[in-house]
């Protein structure tokens, strides 16, 4: 058996188990029977392979089901979700060892699927669920020390760079699906909500509990700017263009305190003298 034979065998079995498209090595009729022995207890090669195939589909569909509870609700239940998840796994089979990342391309796949690409509620739900998945195990960062914040001179703030906690995810959505996810987690069945432009932050707190909370549009715009690497002053200017100067100027101090208390602020870096 050459290395090429081993590749061929594993390629064929992977295709048959995961239902992938052949990768330039079409499975020949009867090849499984040529390679795999029947069992002493009467299982033919197809039945033996089916043990692995069943495990593959059970494992991955259960993982996706656990990872996307809001999407299941938005789609109207387990049956349409299962059909969609099956299509997803065939189109985008698992890559890499990390089962936590199994759904990383699911929101994108949903948006490209004719059956669902005009369903804004489903698309919002998928993005929210994935934000929760990402917040679960991404890197940690200690919250900024309040004494450090207090020591920064007022005139330095506009040019300071603010680093947000790595778990913080900012979502602009057409529905308040974070409320639905919360109800689902309490065992209730939410009503389908009306469309409502919604800004949400998802994050993991210091006790590793994940949360979602709504944001005012200007607060969202500032955080999005900070996340993109803008200085605080530039991020606020950007938010002012989106809402009003007055609402930003009157609220930004309180927002910043709130974000800091939630652990969203990991560092505030004054400009260096070279800047």
């Amino acid at each position: 058996m050459t290395a090429r034979d081993l590749r061929h065998l594993q390629s064929m079995l992977a295709q048959l188990i995961a239902g992938q498209q052949p990768r330039g090595e079409p499975t020949r009729e009867g090849e499984l029977e040529r390679l795999v022995k029947p069992s002493a207890r009467g299982m033919d090669p197809q039945a033996r392979l089916a043990v692995y195939r069943e495990q593959f589909w059970t494992r991955h569909l259960e993982n996706l089901r656990d990872d996307f509870p809001t999407l299941i609700w938005a789609m109207g239940g387990s049956a349409p979700f299962r059909a969609f998840a099956t299509e997803y796994l065939i189109a985008r089979p698992p890559r890499g060892w990390d089962l936590q990342r199994l759904g990383d391309r699911l929101p994108e796949h949903l948006a490209a699927t004719p059956r669902w690409n005009s369903d804004r509620l489903a698309k919002d739900a998928a993005r929210l669920d994935w934000a929760f998945m990402e917040a679960f195990d991404c890197a940690d960062a200690a919250p900024v020390d309040p004494t450090v914040l207090a020591s920064i001179p007022e005139d330095v703030w506009p040019s300071a760079t603010v680093t947000l906690h790595p778990s913080l995810r900012l979502l602009e959505m057409d529905h308040p699906v974070h409320l639905a996810r919360s109800e689902l987690s309490e065992g209730r069945t939410p009503e389908r909500p009306p469309m409502l432009r919604t800004f949400v932050a998802v994050w993991r707190d210091r006790s590793c509990t994940r949360h979602a909370c709504p944001l005012e549009p200007a607060a969202f715009a500032i955080l999005a700017g900070l996340n993109a690497g803008l200085g605080l002053g530039v991020a606020c200017e950007s938010a002012m263009r989106r809402t009003s100067r007055e609402s930003v100027e009157t609220s930004v101090g309180a927002w910043f305190q709130d974000w800091s208390a939630r652990g969203w602020i990991s560092a505030v870096t004054p400009p260096s003298h070279d800047d």
Partner: protein
């Protein structure tokens, strides 16, 4: 000098798999347990609850990482990124060994997240030996290669699995994680004698033994880790202990996870079997 003595592989006594539903009980009450095994991949993350749990766990117990994604029998190249994460984890735990399975887990970059069997012959043996050497070299610790349970056999096999595993261990100079439940399951599925398998494993290479429950599906047994250890498997464990001596033993229970008390009782049963076979202090290690 035999393998375990040469590499100073310790006997950790009897332990159990560290699983989510028991985490708060274990970390709060610090129950008497010889050691814990973790699923390596679950602790590769940079942040979140798992690294926090691990720091707390290792402050009290010995912890050994057990992987499911090394794909030592795979035709794809070994994943260097995966090995780097494994090295970091092993160093962080100061683990005396790390373990994974004699299997392949994916092809062409697609990961099936399963432990698939390979043909056992001279060519695949050379392939696995080279990869074990590379994995051990990169990770910097001894690998204990586990016999996986399987549901398929290949016509290209020319060696029995136990001979294949024994020769890989000798040529690559690695350890063996002997899963006696997997031996029982595969023996049923493929029609070989489980006792011959256990007797064919070089005893000094065995650094760990796994025990678990399985499910009877009629024409085959499925390795589900979902129940108590069956009496026939306890009997194989006795046989393995008589051959291997005092070897770290671990109870795996991953589905239908029972109460902590039930799992503790299963570990106590393993300790009593060790005591019965080995006698004296050798048998009771891991009781406190």
């Amino acid at each position: 000098m035999d393998y375990r003595a040469r590499l100073r592989i310790p006997d950790l006594g009897v332990g159990v798999g560290f699983r989510g539903p028991h985490a708060s009980t274990i970390l709060r009450a610090r129950p008497a347990m010889g050691w814990f095994e973790i699923i390596s991949e679950n602790f590769f993350a940079e942040g979140g609850i798992q690294p926090a749990h691990l720091e707390s766990l290792r402050s009290t117990y010995g912890v050994v990482p057990h992987g499911v994604s090394l794909s030592i029998g795979g035709a794809d190249p070994l994943d260097e990124g995966y090995l780097a994460r494994l090295r970091t984890l092993v160093r962080r735990l100061d683990a005396p060994w790390f373990s994974d399975h004699l299997c392949w887990t994916g092809f062409g970059g697609v990961d099936l997240h399963d432990l698939l069997p390979m043909p056992y012959n001279r060519e695949t043996l050379d392939h696995v030996v080279e990869r074990v050497k590379r994995a051990q070299g990169t990770v910097g610790a001894p690998l204990a290669l586990e016999n996986a349970s399987s549901y398929m056999e290949f016509r290209q096999s020319s060696l029995p699995e136990h001979s294949f595993l024994a020769e890989v261990a000798e040529r690559a100079d690695c350890g063996i994680l002997l899963d006696v439940n997997n031996v029982f399951v595969s023996a049923y599925n493929h029609g070989f004698d489980a006792r011959t398998y256990v007797d064919g494993i070089p005893p000094d290479r065995v650094v760990q033994i796994h025990l678990a429950g399985h499910e009877d599906k009629g024409p085959y047994l499925l390795d589900t880790h979902s129940d108590h250890v069956r009496e026939e498997v306890w009997e194989l464990y006795r046989r393995a202990l008589r051959r291997c001596g005092a070897v770290s033993t671990l109870i795996e229970w991953d589905t239908n996870i029972p109460t902590w008390e039930t799992l503790e009782a299963e570990a106590a049963l393993a300790r009593s079997v060790r005591q019965e076979v080995l006698g004296g202090d050798m048998g009771s290690r891991g009781a406190v």
